[in-house]
Symmetry: C2
Subunit: 240 residues, 2 copies
């Protein structure tokens, strides 16, 4: 994923799209492998996009497709693909009809939202009409979370998705210092699962959520049982 926008790097806006994309990709069995956040600077967007689209099956972008002067994502994506960025007829018609229906002038600024790299296909925007677009393996979506999410809902059915990634969570009242070694042994014994431990530190006390992930239900169940047995064993030791 490539999140685009000065506001994310200044702290003005706290990103909410990365976590949402991560949740959705996990749910459909696509591994999110890398995220970059770059400012609204053409060279930086082009460089990051070319690195990501070369390295991964899909790239999802957020931000920079509105009507203001700092919305340069469409131009940068076009440059990355080496194609012209131009007004799209279908997008112009959609926007013109929408503004006409609301009695609002279709200004030059608003027409910017119909610009996209030549050869793009639309990603429908049920919220505010102005479409995102897909070109090659890149999906360009809005930065406003509700619109990003709605656009992503339209993209997901078009992806080649793997089997759903299954996961089980085991809540563990011990910190990582207690469970580190036995958990490492369990991971080694169950190589077809991915075991993560996520520490919580609240009210002066450590605990962990142990998450076992995998694509095979039986292997997942076996690894989860081993983790649960470890937690019970540690509790018994503590109580003894």
């Amino acid at each position: 994923m490539l999140a685009i926008g000065d506001e994310l790097l200044s702290g003005r806006t706290k990103d909410r799209n990365i976590g949402h994309l991560a949740d959705i990709m996990t749910a459909i069995g696509v591994d999110l492998k890398e995220v970059r956040i770059v400012p609204d600077e053409e060279d930086r967007i082009v460089e990051a996009l070319n690195a990501l689209r070369g390295a991964h099956d899909y790239v999802f972008t957020s931000g920079g497709i509105g009507p203001t002067h700092d919305d340069i994502t469409a131009d940068a994506v076009a440059k990355a693909f080496g194609v012209p960025c131009e007004h799209d007829e279908k997008a112009l018609q959609l926007l013109a009809a929408n503004y006409a229906g609301r009695g609002i002038e279709f200004t030059e600024s608003r027409k910017r939202m119909a610009r996209m790299p030549r050869g793009s296909t639309h990603i429908d925007n049920p919220i505010s009409v102005a479409p995102g677009f897909a070109i090659g393996n890149v999906y360009v979506m809005a930065g406003v979370p509700s619109i990003f999410q709605a656009m992503l809902d339209n993209v997901v059915p078009t992806l080649r998705t793997g089997q759903k990634l299954l996961s089980r969570t085991v809540t563990c009242p011990f910190g990582e210092g207690v469970i580190g070694a036995p958990l490492g042994a369990i991971q080694e014994a169950h190589p077809d699962t991915i075991i993560g431990s996520y520490p919580r530190y609240e009210e002066g006390k450590f605990s962990t959520e142990l998450v076992v992930r995998g694509r095979d239900e039986e292997k997942l169940a076996a690894a989860t049982a081993a983790v649960e047995a470890m937690v019970e064993r540690l509790k018994a030791q503590q109580a003894a």
Copy 2:
């Protein structure tokens, strides 16, 4: 910044450190220019870290310095710098004294938290003792937000910071379609400021926060006045 952890990419954990670092850097006049999120995979950490530390003055990392088998950040940073990763005597003593005082066994897993690249200096951890570390222009900190924040508080006074970046926010009841063109003209007329517009879409209505940033108080005031005048002019047109 480099945020490290499978849990960030699976959606299990929603990152809170990027936004905090962005806020702090803005407050002290350091421009955050790029963020990457990578999984707990050595090659990916090494590659991203070398790219970032070559391109930027400072790199801040979060995550992967706990005691479990998937905490591989110290090893990856050592590999990126081409130095050995080894137990640090001072860190071992700190941790040993802490665990002894609490009557807790100092296990091999816990000793992992004293490992760091040769030549590192400590970043104190007032919350859970196990230190972060700095090597070259890279600051390696914990992923748990409260610990990340405490470590960052210890790092900030050691940085060469620019003048504080000043900012003014103008709340604007119009969407970006209305303000795009006049705002672009104001940006062109005030090149020493950075003018951003941050759309909000709530309850079916667009509005924007217009943020004017700059290092020079007078130039900032002039650009802000121009933005405020634009908003008032648009309000008057609306009312007419």
